[in-house]
Assembly symmetry: C2
Homo-oligomer: 195 residues x 2
């Protein structure tokens, strides 16, 4: 279900977690849009109810030009304590993060926040389905990856904190972009249940 | 898990959905704080993983005084499409909204958004546990209420769109405020499974 807001959406720039300034209009937005459309399709067809969570913001100042319109004039991005997406499918609690990289050889894990990995661990412990969707922009390939494989690289202290492309090819679940739904990631369900 | 943000939390004023301007420092904040503390307790003790979702904001302008600090200088509140709280307990997907009223005789439903009720309906259809926590500030009483009872009043076209206090006394699940956890709403679990 789409809500129409009274304010026009404009292109804004965002800062990735303590790293580079990027333009939200390109990097990351394709993946977010494709997932939002997919989740809307899932909801419309009573397949699953999964949403992207709002970006966490610390609001400091609000102006009231009139009763109806509150204008936030000072706010800051907060570090997310959980993943971006969660919901329900086939009675299961589903929870995941989605990341994109321009690399061709491996997927760097540095822009996944430690809290997010700890969160996914807890979800798994509680009987939920937690995973990560990785988008290799250079290949235009989307991989659903089991948490256990991600953790193998995440927990490797001596490792380079990235997952080689070959690992995705071998043990990830490739999802092809399509029309309706745009990215049918729930096709990886049996693969995920087997985690 | 609590994250410490680099910016001091200040008291801000918020606008309830198209209605009155209220001070966030009192109305609503007690309920939100008590639930956040409870959810933190649940997570710390590996009981459940439940979070409040961030407030949905439409960001329009961002300033960059330096690389590290992005300052949002223009943003607006958006209408939430889902409820405020969700997570996992005993393998079940859990989803709820929490509301507060100063009324003594009945709980008005006007500040619950139609999208939120539709969302809870879908959750129930998917096999999840959906409910609402009502706080009667005048009595300092918290009631967990099954969705089916809320819907009885919500769907009553000729009704006054409020739930009488007597209904809570009779068919709600009263939760007393305590110390640790502050509001043990998962005590209502069997009541909710019976919905």
């Amino acid at each position: 279900m789409t809500i129409n807001y009274p304010f026009k959406k404009q292109t804004t720039r965002v800062v990735t977690r303590g790293q580079n300034v990027i333009s939200k209009s390109n990097m990351g937005m394709k993946l977010e849009n494709i997932l939002n459309e997919t989740n809307e399709y899932y909801r419309m067809h009573n397949i699953a109810v999964i949403y992207k969570k709002p970006i966490p913001i610390q609001i400091v100042k609000v102006d009231y030009p009139n009763r109806e319109h509150a204008k936030i004039t000072e706010a800051y991005y907060k570090i997310p304590s959980t993943t971006d997406y969660n919901g329900i499918y086939k009675g299961f609690y589903v929870d995941f993060e989605a990341k994109e990289s321009n690399s061709k050889t491996s997927f760097p894990l540095r822009n996944i926040h430690p809290h997010q990995i700890e969160h996914l661990r807890l979800i798994k412990k509680q009987g939920g389905i937690g995973f990560i969707i990785f988008y290799f922009a250079q290949y235009d390939e989307y991989y659903v990856m089991k948490l256990s494989i991600v953790l193998k690289y995440w927990d490797d202290i001596d490792g380079r904190k990235s997952i080689p492309y070959a690992e995705f090819k071998q043990n990830g679940f490739l999802i092809k972009e399509s029309y309706s739904p745009r990215l049918d990631y729930l096709k990886a369900w049996d693969y995920l249940l087997n985690d």
